[in-house]
């Protein structure tokens, strides 16, 4: 008897791509993972999940300080992981405005234009500083992903491209994140693993040598000003060489993952369906961490301001950015909290995924530090004070979780970054706008 009238409980479209496993014809197995498990402690990972348009106090603020606190409406989906989280309040972003706030999220410094050029300086972001240390044994030092491509034009005097990333690999190099799930997948798993990849890497290396030779010749012929512009090019050559070297001569690893996931290559292009896109990118992050292809990663839900519209969420009636400027009208505020609740719900699925991956002495979540939040509080006035931040994961024992830490009012964002650097054993005297640590986190 057909039970077609049993109503499907799903409230929004699930793309077909996710349920269709593509034949893994082209996927080579990870050599490192196939090798017998090497003893060693699982490394600590650092992940940043970024939402650009803020959270309103009415939906975000938790009740209570210390170990006894109640989750807010927006954080409710993360109830099962309350014991793994540290909510932080009273931390201030030094930037002011969408783009500077976004650029400062991991750099603790709003970007400044270098005179006479179109280059901006914000300082190296904390994830890249960490990647310098954590990325030595992994193929990819830092996996930067986003759900929206870089913006065009200008806003508030800054080029939108400067607000399209939270990661800076050098003081003046904003790193544009990857938006295509398939390209991200290929960069992680297809190009660098297996005998075919080794052959390709050898060829690529000789091309790189040729390219460097050509560039050295040309370098002599250009003006001094133009020579500066080639600095980043040379830096890229070095980065690719390092990666190729790791493919040809995989580094000695102090630790190997105990289990191996199925690797399913996502379809090409950028999914039309935003929830599906988010799901795929969360999966990329999880797979990359699981297979120890990288130990540092990030995902941006949107670029600063963002033009994304979230009409698939029931009750939503506008663009993400538009709704964040709620003007304190009750119905708009409700939509603002509702969309943020949706983000938190999706994020909870990611945390659950990390929690479900066993790494012997604990889960992947136990061995990670995941930073979730936004560069501003109430998006209506781009409030840079008391920005919404939560840490998830015990960081391999480095963090005492299950608490709400209310820092001293006006604690600079750089202090959080310094504290994280300290936890990971990276030396730094100052970072961005701070020279001190957050003592309660230590």
């Amino acid at each position: 008897m057909r039970k077609s009238w049993r109503i499907d409980r799903r409230t929004f479209l699930r793309g077909i791509g996710s349920t269709l496993a593509l034949p893994a014809l082209d996927i080579m197995e990870s050599e490192a993972a196939a090798a017998s498990a090497v003893k060693g402690t699982p490394p600590t990972r650092f992940v940043t999940i970024f939402q650009p348009n803020g959270f309103h106090s009415s939906g975000w603020d938790v009740n209570g300080v210390g170990k006894n606190f109640e989750l807010s409406r927006i954080l409710k989906p993360l109830q099962p992981f309350k014991k793994d989280m540290i909510v932080l309040s009273n931390i201030d972003n030094p930037g002011n405005g969408h783009i500077p706030n976004t650029a400062a999220f991991l750099t603790a410094a709003p970007p400044k234009r270098l005179p006479g050029s179109n280059t901006y300086r914000a300082g190296i972001s904390v994830d890249y500083l960490l990647a310098q240390k954590l990325g030595q044994e992994t193929l990819i030092p830092n996996l930067n992903l986003a759900l929206e491509p870089a913006g065009q034009g200008f806003d508030g005097g800054y080029p939108r491209s400067v607000g399209s990333t939270i990661s800076w690999s050098s003081e003046t190099t904003p790193v544009i994140p990857e938006v295509s799930p398939q390209v991200a997948f290929d960069n992680l798993f297809r190009r660098h693993v297996g005998p075919e990849a080794k052959m390709r890497a050898t060829k690529q290396k000789s091309v790189l040598d040729y390219v460097r030779g050509e560039m050295d010749d040309l370098n002599r012929k250009v003006s001094a000003m133009d020579r500066q512009r080639l600095d980043q090019y040379y830096a890229s050559i070095r980065d690719v060489e390092v990666k190729l070297e790791k493919t040809l001569n995989p580094p000695e690893k102090s630790w190997n993952p105990k289990t191996r996931p199925d690797l399913v290559r996502p379809p090409a292009g950028i999914p039309d369906d935003y929830p599906e896109h988010m799901r795929l990118m969360f999966e990329m992050l999880a797979l990359a961490l699981w297979t120890d292809t990288t130990r540092v990663g990030s995902l941006m839900f949107g670029i600063s301001q963002t033009t994304l519209s979230l009409n698939f969420i029931p009750g939503m009636n506008g663009s993400h950015h538009g709704v964040s400027h709620h003007r304190n009208v009750a119905s708009n505020l409700d939509q603002y909290n509702r969309l943020n609740l949706w983000f938190a719900t999706e994020f909870a699925k990611f945390i659950k995924q990390l929690d479900s991956i066993s790494e012997g002495s604990g889960s992947l979540l136990d061995h990670s530090v995941v930073l979730f939040g936004s560069c501003m509080k109430d998006g209506n006035l781009h409030v840079p004070k008391d920005i919404p931040l939560v840490l998830f994961g015990k960081g391999g024992g480095k963090l005492t979780t299950g608490q709400h830490i209310r820092c001293k009012p006006g604690t600079p964002l750089g202090s959080l970054h310094l504290t994280l650097l300290d936890k990971f054993g990276v030396e730094a005297e100052s970072f961005g706008n701070s020279k001190g640590l957050i003592s309660e986190l230590s």
Partner: protein, 907 residues
Amino acid sequence: MTCNFPCGILNATALLVLAGLCFGAPGELHGETGFEEKVVPLLAKYCYDCHDDLTTKGNLDLTPFLDPESVVKERKLWLRVLHQIKSQEMPPEKPFPAPDELATLVDEIDRAVNDVDWSSFRNPGHVPLARLSQLQYRNSIRDLLGIDFNAGVTLPRDPEGPSGFRNDRSSLLINGSYLEKYYAEAQRALDAIFYLKENPSPRIQTIRAEEFKVFRARIEKNGSSSVLVLATPSSTGSGVVVLPETGYYRITIHAGTKPYPLTGLNLYAGGNEVGSVIVEDPQMRDYTMTALMEKGSNLISLRTDVAALPLRNDYRVEFPVPQNYIGEALEIAEATAPKLKPLPHYSPAARKQLETANRTAFEIFEYYQLLKLLRENDAVSDDEKVRGEWLGRRTRFRQANMQLSALLKVPDEDVFARWTAETISPGFDEYMDFGNAYVEEARFKYFYKRPFSGEVVVSRIAFEGPIEPEAIEPQGLYSDLPDPGTAPPGDAEIRALIRKFSSRAFRRPIDETQLDRLFDFYATARGEGAGFYPALNDALSAALCSPEFLYRFDALDGPGDEIRLSSHQLAGRLANFLWASVPDAALLNAADEDSLTSDVGIAEQTERMRLSPKVRSFSESFMSEWLDFANLGGNIMPNIGRYPEFSRALAEDMKKETARFFEHIVREDRSLLELLESDYLLLNERMANYYGHPEPRKGSDFAIYEKHEDHFGGLLGMAGLMTATSPPTRTSPVKRGVWMLEKIFGEHLPPPPANVPELPPGTGERAGISLREELAKHREQKECAGCHDKIDNFGFVLENFDPIGKWRTSTPEVPVDSTVTLEDGKTYQNVVDFKSYLLEERRDDFLRNITEQMLSYALGRPLEFFDTPVVDEIAEQVRKKGYRPSVLLGEIAKSYPFNFQSNLPIE
């Protein structure tokens, strides 16, 4: 400098002016006395209060301007200042300057901005070293290889630079993941070319219906075969096809339609729309399209396409259900509604819950009867209330039964099973299916305003390829490659091939040592036993990764303050400007003969290139970035619920209309003023229908049409531009006004104050007043009026164009008032007489603006104050010679900044 003026005859004022010109040394404009002594104190008296470095009203700080040279360097700004002082807009309140003070200000500032000895500022400008833009990369690979593989699609999208164009050189750097991507891109394109040459007989891969996975669709058995049946808009059938190599494939879909004779079908590959067909025949037959597909596994999806179906505007939005139907349905329900009896083991609480469940079943049954009546009497109601009511009753029925099963401590299934089993035919399955189908159909009509799409039936989809695409560039590698079956060509022939390929790629003749290095790749691979195709692949991949291909080294170092570009460097620049690609053989020859450093030589090539179809890339990128409509159909989309006739395909055609119109003007050398007003239109079938043209012609290509209504013609009547300047649900006269001022007239508006919120949705409509009246209230505030008095009129005159560019004389609430009175006091009714204003009063502003934009595009940098005389001269030539694009392009190619590069350090 010598003074040639007969000073004795002239009057005193002229003498003063001439004295300044004659006796001022180069670099000094006239005596410092003029500006410093007279103007600065007046500015301090009347302007500094609001326009100093603390109170920078309108973002303007006048205090740094202490001499005429500083004024010249910010000439555009001071032209505005002059205008505002002259028209007495500024200062806006007391104290006002006395008449003689006003005269002094106007005279001296006018002198400072207009009586400029430009020779003292002569500077060709400096463009930084830049990589190829994404568009230039794609086209270069297309022309070098011979086939367009959309190379560079994995590269990050180019940001807009400060000039507003994506080819702005300051933003075009190589960092991060680019290098790896370039290598992968080169491999992909070369692998595809070599494979195609080696495998001229395409293979066919088929996905049969039974292999599809379905989502809201079904597979039906048809005797020994099966068919995929797609119905509602989101119903999808997906499958996987594994293709041997990247390339073009002929895709054949064997399909038919039932019951309606017209259904649209979209094909997606990996999430991107690859093509669509209209399935017209109930008989199964083949529908074909050609598309670029990737090597390896491709996820294919077929989905019905709502946008292909004709709109029906006669669907009633509110259709109250007739009372007698409601009564009749109630009667039937009271007589025959099914009920469940309590079973012996039911507790009292369960029995009570069962009563509730029975009540909800009654409501379901009653509504089922009602819907049946509506359907039988062909009175399908698309009233949202009917749908909402059904869904509500359905939910209550479910919830009541789920609560019952909770009380009984049994799975939900068991309770639902009773309903199915114990109701007499037709039973609950039938009630539910009927109701659900009914509301689905109603929702479709209500939301999409199209007939229910019926069903598309697909039996198989076949992929044949790789095949040769229709368009093959004759000078590309594909034509030059020796056939694979023949004996491997000798070293000399290979060297010649590599030389030709890379000289064109590097935009200059490759030197022997470079050639040796590339040939090395070939020789090494051959030495390791590779065939000559793979070996050649290695060499050419390396060439495509060379910085000389990826970067534009067209302004190398040299002695002196400025460098003259060589013929080869000019060839590269010209090809990037007009074709966004590499030079062709004829242009390279001209460069080899060093003829491009002469005016005649470069003008000749420019003229030849203007006539080539390759200017399409130039017209598409120039227009969409200048007029800011590139994001239409992507980030900018109208609300589909309100404007169901809008679709991505329509957006693409709208963009093409504007780009093709400009392309037509360029290639046919029509007057550029036709952009302001023309007596013809360039349309395809879809756009002709959209604009209600009485004689639309079949086909997707664009062709000349006679104008059928006065408000069409020129840029302002184009739907794409009107849509791109509107938010999703309404028009925005402010947005359009800003667009007109900045894009058409080339004025610069200061940014709005921080934190000015958007108007909330429904602005105007709720208060029952027009948008115009609402904005008028805002302009009553002084801080807002300053800018809005200038902006809003240019938007209001376009109010007859609704948010999707259709002509309207009223909105649902109020009639449209598009009468505007401009600064000069004249009144214009609507866009039709406004266009005559543009042609008569503003033609030279427009010409100057398009000249600046195009020069900026050609140079890849924003213009500076020292480019002013260049722009003046070019615009003057174009004006004199009939406003023709051939003149504009030629003058730009011959111009000082195009041919020279400044070598001085930048301040």
